[in-house]
Symmetry: C2
Subunit: 224 residues, 2 copies
């Protein structure tokens, strides 16, 4: 019975890593679709998000099943509660990647990002992808300081978003009202995606920190 | 012991209702701040969001404490898991109201919304506020069909957002690039706020439906 339980927990953890990889891949593809005006790739990302939604639902069911059947305490409880929240973060990241892809699909064959803004969007896509990769790596190591390592990239993404908005405002070439609206939303999608990636890593730190501390204090709490 | 437990559950439920009321009030005030170019009111909403974050943290702690100490099953487990997610929805609604208020504060003494777009933003604020009020009422009745009643308002908000974007694109009076960027984000904040309000009501339906069914099947699951 306990062995099955530990297998279930371990598989739950592995599933979180896989879904983080999927959220990473979705954003990388969506960014390529929007920069390359690639409708086929955009539609692939959009279709994949449907599958992802079902997979998150399945992960949530597992978490609730574990809570109901095993009545976990201490660090296991923290892992499962954190996992439920991570599942929500991951689902949102997938949806934000889909929104990026939807812009590419809706504007096709026009391009969403004028040439003057391509370097900024390229950089935002790269940093956001790195954040998701960092969250995935954090889940592999379960290191208590996992979140700290993502801070620099998160700051960089905020700076890139501010730069993007300044570029739009300062009359960058090829920017009309329609472009400004699309690119404003695009910037917002990347920023939200990055926030969720940082949130993932924070939850890993919370579970990992708890693991270190749990034998000492047994304190229960949750990161904001 | 069981009596304390039921009191804790009942107080947990009551707290969800209060926090929904707070999220409602924050949006109503933020909308007034943005339409009346009222910096003082905007700053009140911004300051309140800090308090709200602490209150959500406290609610999460309660939920995790209940899971750890009481190891609830069936409908109580569903209520607490749903409550954790509702807390996340509510925190997000508060932050979105803050973002609306931040636009008012950052642009002051300029107005964010030009006269030509005021009716649309006024309507979006009213519908979003009604959705939050509907979610609160659903939590008071815990009726299984609570979510269905919010669908019409959610559709209306989507239509208003589409109208807003059409107005921006069709060269409504007073719309330059900067205005288009602000108002695009404003529209997005209302739309996200409304989605979270609908999500709250769906979780109520999930808990309420489970209560009706739980004696029969004992089935555990979770709405997407």
């Amino acid at each position: 019975m306990r062995e099955v339980y530990h297998e279930e927990l371990s598989s739950f953890r592995a599933r979180l890593v896989e879904l983080t990889q999927s959220a990473h891949d979705a954003l990388v593809r969506a960014t390529r679709a929007v920069l390359d005006t690639d409708r086929e790739l955009a539609e692939l990302v959009i279709a994949d998000d449907q599958t992802l939604a079902a997979e998150h639902h399945e992960l949530d069911q597992r978490a609730i099943g574990l809570l109901a059947r095993q009545q976990p305490v201490a660090r296991d409880l923290r892992l499962i509660v954190a996992g439920l929240r991570m599942s929500a973060d991951l689902a949102r990241m997938g949806t934000l990647a889909r929104h990026v892809a939807e812009l590419a699909a809706q504007r096709y064959p026009s391009e969403v990002v004028p040439g003057s803004l391509r370097p900024t969007i390229t950089a935002m896509g790269a940093v956001a992808g790195r954040l998701a990769g960092g969250a995935r790596d954090a889940m592999l190591s379960w290191a208590p300081d996992a979140a700290a390592e993502l801070d620099r990239d998160d700051d960089e993404l905020d700076h890139l978003q501010a730069l993007l908005y300044r570029q739009l405002l300062s009359g960058a070439e090829g920017v009309d009202i329609a472009t400004a609206m699309d690119v404003t939303l695009l910037g917002r999608y990347y920023e939200r995606y990055a926030d969720h990636a940082v949130s993932l890593a924070k939850r890993v730190s919370y579970v990992a920190g708890a693991r270190v501390r749990s034998s000492g204090t047994g304190r229960l709490g949750v990161e904001p």
